[in-house]
Each structure stands twice: as structure tokens, then as C-alpha cells.
């Protein structure tokens, strides 16, 4: 067997292929420039080429591909949101996700686990029922389950009443899934590059100036670029980049931390979330428990990790899974989340002509990657945001018309 493998390796018949085409030099004009080479920016580039035939496009990334929040989230995908605007939007994202691996030709390890949002109080049961009814009305698979069903769906869960917050029931969302987040970005990047779009890493935008004719000049660490249109997709740094364009956003940048345990024998099938305990956890294909909690208590642009976070999170983890008390934390990290006042994104037009924004992705960005790329591509191509993201427009704050998405991750009820 090893000899066979060696023979396979040295035969010229099976040449290795570069995953990404070779990088091209940076030019000084493009029809569209996308600031941010994370999942959202790359998806936008892909759909610009696929659906609108626009390929004179550059994606500028200050670090390396998908090095920001795309690689830092806990990879949960679901659509059981509370507002009709949010639920329909994320449902469309899940529809795109299901066929994405085949379309991009990369294994996304998309794994439908079922998603349980635990309710520990009567108020949370009421909200779960409310969310389930909104979801069912919109054709989303979602239901309230009580303890008798919960014990079958997740036998490992501690349903004892002798804890601080006994579990009363849960909102059950069978299509809830996890996926390999890096692969989503790499798949979109390759798809975009094969269609002629350029991706420039280590290219940081340092200044933005709009000309009278509608074109926008971007100063970068590699020289200046003139763009017909610009899409900003830089979750975490949204306020700082928008400031260069003269736009003030309704966003606070707050670290969101997460961690993984050492690999454990597979025991946890569904994704477990608790708003009251501020926790979400799933078990990866490698056996690691991927765990996250609520955002840090104050705004910060540093991706440092804190002991407060791990301590607080583990106290709550042990309430749900007491047998994990000897399990070790393998690594811990943080991403900077764009928190908006209504827990919904800010997408579409801005006060600056031909400058489009995809921001405010707080703790709900990864699951929206395909649909936000799809909608931002249409926005950039036509200058008109599609109906699906109308509710998320920046202007809603001028009209005091927030979306109020309390179905967002780890928001207590």
C-alpha cells in the first residue's frame, strides 16, 4: 500500500493542481472593488461573476484570505429567527448552503445536526413558542419541544431540576447545521478567481476619496486604485473603514470569544444553545466541542482572550454537561463583532454614491455568507438592493425603524 501510494505520487499522469490560480499584479482601475477578503466579500465576488458577468473586480484583503471573523465563528447555520425579515433572509441562506458544496466543488462538511435553543424560564418558553409559530408560518422547520422529547433528542443533556436554571423545554430546529467555515471562503475564492476576479492579499485600504464623477479612489499600501463601485465587507473593522469614506455607522465593536475542548468521543449530535446561560456548543467531526458565549461586556478592538470568559462559560457548560468536568480546553480565541442596536445587519446603499456596505454582522455573519454575497452582488451590479435586504438598509435608523431581531445568538429573552 505505501509503495502504491508512492508510485501514484511520482507518476506524471496525476499532476498536482494549484488550488488557486496564480495571483495577478494589482492594476489601478477596476469596475468593482470589494474591501475585505472574508466569506462575505468573496461570496459577493463569486456571484458578481456568476450572475452578473462582472469580472473586472478586485477583492482587497489586508491579511490573508478569511483570516478575520470567517475563521473565528463557531460555524453554526440556522434560520429560526424571530422577525419575518430575518427568518426569510437566513432561510434563503440555508437553501444556498445546501447545494453549495457541489457548486463550488469543495467539501464544506455541511452537517445537519438539529439545533436546540434551550428555555429555562416561562418567558423563554413563550418566546420559543412565538419563534416557532413565526417560523412555521414562513415554512421553516421549527417547533417547541418539552422535556419528554428533549430527553430523546439529546440524552446527554442534564435535565435535573436540581440546578440553578432547570431546562423546561427548547425551540427545536431540525435543519440546524454546522459547516467548515474556511472551506466556504476558499470555495468562493476559487470560484471567483476561475472566472477572472483578482484577489489581493496583504493589501490594506488606508484612505477613501470619492470623485465628483461617481468613481471612488482607494489609497492602499500598494498604491492607489480607482473603482467604479466599492463594496465594504470588513466585519470587525466596519466603523474604521466606513469612517474613511465619511460614514458613521450604528455599530459598536465588541469581542466575541470562543474555545474548543480536546477531542472527545462523539456524544453530542445536536447543536445546543442557551440564551439564559449564554452558551452555544456543538461537537465537530474531529470530536472537539466548539463553544461560545455572549459578547464581552465592553467595546474593544483587541482579539485578546480572557480568563473571565472561559471561567464563566465553563460554569454554565458544567450545568448542562456535568460529566465534562475533567475535559480540557484546547484553544481559545476572539473575533471582533459588529454589534448593531437591533441585532440585524446593515446592508446596501450608503450616503456615499457607489459605495455599498455589508456590515453589522455581530454574532450572525457566518450563516448569512451565501445570501449576503448574493444580495450584495445584485446591489453592486444594479445599484438597487434586492427586496430580501430592504429591511436591513442603513436608512432604517433615520426613520427609527429597527428590525429588533431577538432571535440572534445568545440574546437573553
Amino acid at each position: 500500500m505505501p509503495l502504491g501510494l508512492l508510485k501514484y505520487g511520482i507518476r506524471r499522469k496525476y499532476k498536482s493542481e494549484r488550488y488557486f490560480p496564480a495571483a495577478k499584479p494589482l492594476r489601478d482601475t477596476y469596475d468593482v472593488v470589494i474591501i475585505g477578503g472574508g466569506g462575505h466579500g468573496l461570496a459577493c465576488a463569486y456571484y458578481l461573476a456568476r450572475d452578473w458577468g462582472i469580472t473586472n473586480v478586485a477583492v482587497l484583503e489586508k491579511g490573508w484570505l478569511a483570516s478575520g471573523n470567517t475563521a473565528r465563528n463557531t460555524a453554526i447555520i440556522r434560520s429560526n429567527y424571530l422577525t419575518p425579515e430575518g427568518a426569510l433572509f437566513y432561510e434563503e441562506s440555508m437553501r444556498l448552503y445546501r447545494s453549495l458544496a457541489g457548486e463550488l466543488g469543495i467539501n464544506l462538511m455541511y452537517s445537519e445536526r438539529g439545533h436546540l435553543t434551550l428555555a429555562h424560564t416561562d418567558a423563554a418558553i413563550r418566546t420559543s413558542r412565538w419563534r416557532a409559530e413565526v417560523n412555521k408560518h414562513l415554512g421553516i422547520d421549527s417547533a417547541l419541544v418539552l422535556r419528554d422529547e428533549l430527553v430523546k433528542l439529546c440524552p446527554e443533556l442534564n435535565l435535573s431540576e436540581d440546578v440553578r436554571y432547570p431546562v423546561l423545554g427548547a425551540l427545536y430546529h431540525p435543519p440546524g447545521a454546522i459547516a467548515r467555515h474556511d472551506a466556504v471562503a476558499w470555495g468562493y475564492a476559487r470560484g471567483a478567481m476561475h472566472r477572472g476576479i483578482e484577489i489581493h492579499q496583504q493589501t490594506e485600504v488606508t484612505g477613501i476619496r470619492n470623485h465628483g464623477d461617481g468613481s471612488i479612489e482607494l489609497a492602499t499600501n500598494r498604491g492607489s486604485i480607482t473603482a467604479g463601485k466599492v463594496v465594504q465587507a470588513v466585519a470587525g473593522m466596519s466603523s474604521e473603514v466606513a469612517r474613511m469614506a465619511g460614514i458613521k455607522l450604528p455599530i459598536r465593536s465588541v469581542p466575541l470569544q470562543a474555545c474548543v475542548s480536546e477531542p472527545l468521543k462523539p456524544f453530542l449530535d445536536p447543536i445546543i444553545v442557551s440564551g439564559s446561560l449564554h452558551i452555544y456548543v456543538s461537537q465537530s467531526a474531529r470530536g472537539e466541542l466548539v463553544m461560545g458565549g455572549s459578547t464581552d461586556p465592553y467595546p474593544l478592538y483587541s482579539t485578546r482572550s480572557s480568563l473571565d470568559f472561559t471561567e464563566g462559560l465553563m460554569a454554565n457548560m458544567l450545568e448542562l454537561f456535568p460529566f465534562l468536568q475533567k475535559a480540557k480546553v484546547l484553544r481559545q480565541w476572539a473575533g471582533i463583532a459588529d454589534m448593531t442596536p437591533d441585532f440585524s445587519p446593515v446592508m446596501g446603499l450608503t450616503p456615499v454614491r457607489n459605495y455599498y456596505i455589508d456590515a453589522g454582522w455581530g454574532t450572525w455573519g457566518f450563516k448569512a455568507t451565501p445570501v449576503s454575497g448574493f444580495c450584495m452582488a445584485e446591489t453592486a451590479a444594479t445599484g438597487k438592493p434586492p427586496a430580501l435586504i430592504k429591511a436591513f438598509e442603513f436608512e432604517r435608523f433615520d426613520r427609527f425603524e429597527q428590525v429588533g431581531e431577538r432571535g440572534a445568538a445568545s440574546v437573553g429573552h
Binding site: E240, K248, S253, Y298, Y301, L307, F397, D398, F400
Partner: protein
């Protein structure tokens, strides 16, 4: 654990405090609706040195923290009266 030096209670655990956001001036009661929308929703959200309202929860004491949001360093804390007096002084110098 981070320690915050409360002007009223001295050094205390950061967990005893809440951050209420940057210090901004409230618009006049009859200001245009845009000015109010800006005040209510929009944030400077600066990466760098900012002045913020913080509250020591146990004693309900409000004060001003000067903090670097890039490095997480707390530079200074002071009672609101001192901060407002300082702001007035700076404005006076600028002639504003």
C-alpha cells in the same frame, strides 16, 4: 482580572462595572430628527483613546473612563464634574 479605579470606591474588579458607551453631547430638544437619530443610534466607535460613561453597579456611581480600545488599557478615571470642567476648559482654549 482587570481592575478599574473607581473615583468613589477605589480599585475594584472590572466585573462590578458596566460600560454605557462614549461621552456624546445630547442634541437640543428642538433639534432636527436626523440629529436625534444620530445621537440615539450612531456610534463613533473609535479604535484608539475614547472617553466613556461607566457605572459601578453596586453603588450606582457614574463616572468617566478614558480608555484605549486598541490595547484595552485604562488610562484614567474621573468624576463627571471634573471631566465636564476639563472639557469646558479645552473648549475655551479653542475659542469654541
Amino acid at each position: 482580572m482587570k481592575i478599574i479605579n473607581c473615583p468613589l470606591n477605589g480599585p475594584r474588579n472590572a466585573q462590578e462595572f458596566v460600560c454605557a458607551g462614549e461621552v456624546v453631547e445630547e442634541p437640543a430638544q428642538d433639534a432636527a430628527i436626523d440629529a436625534w437619530a444620530d445621537y440615539v443610534f450612531l456610534e463613533n466607535n473609535l479604535k484608539g483613546v475614547v472617553h466613556e460613561w461607566w457605572c459601578h453597579v453596586a453603588s450606582s456611581y457614574w463616572f468617566i473612563v478614558t480608555r484605549d480600545t486598541a490595547t484595552e488599557e485604562i488610562i484614567a478615571t474621573c468624576p463627571p464634574a471634573d471631566f465636564l470642567a476639563m472639557q469646558k476648559e479645552t473648549k475655551g482654549v479653542d475659542g469654541a
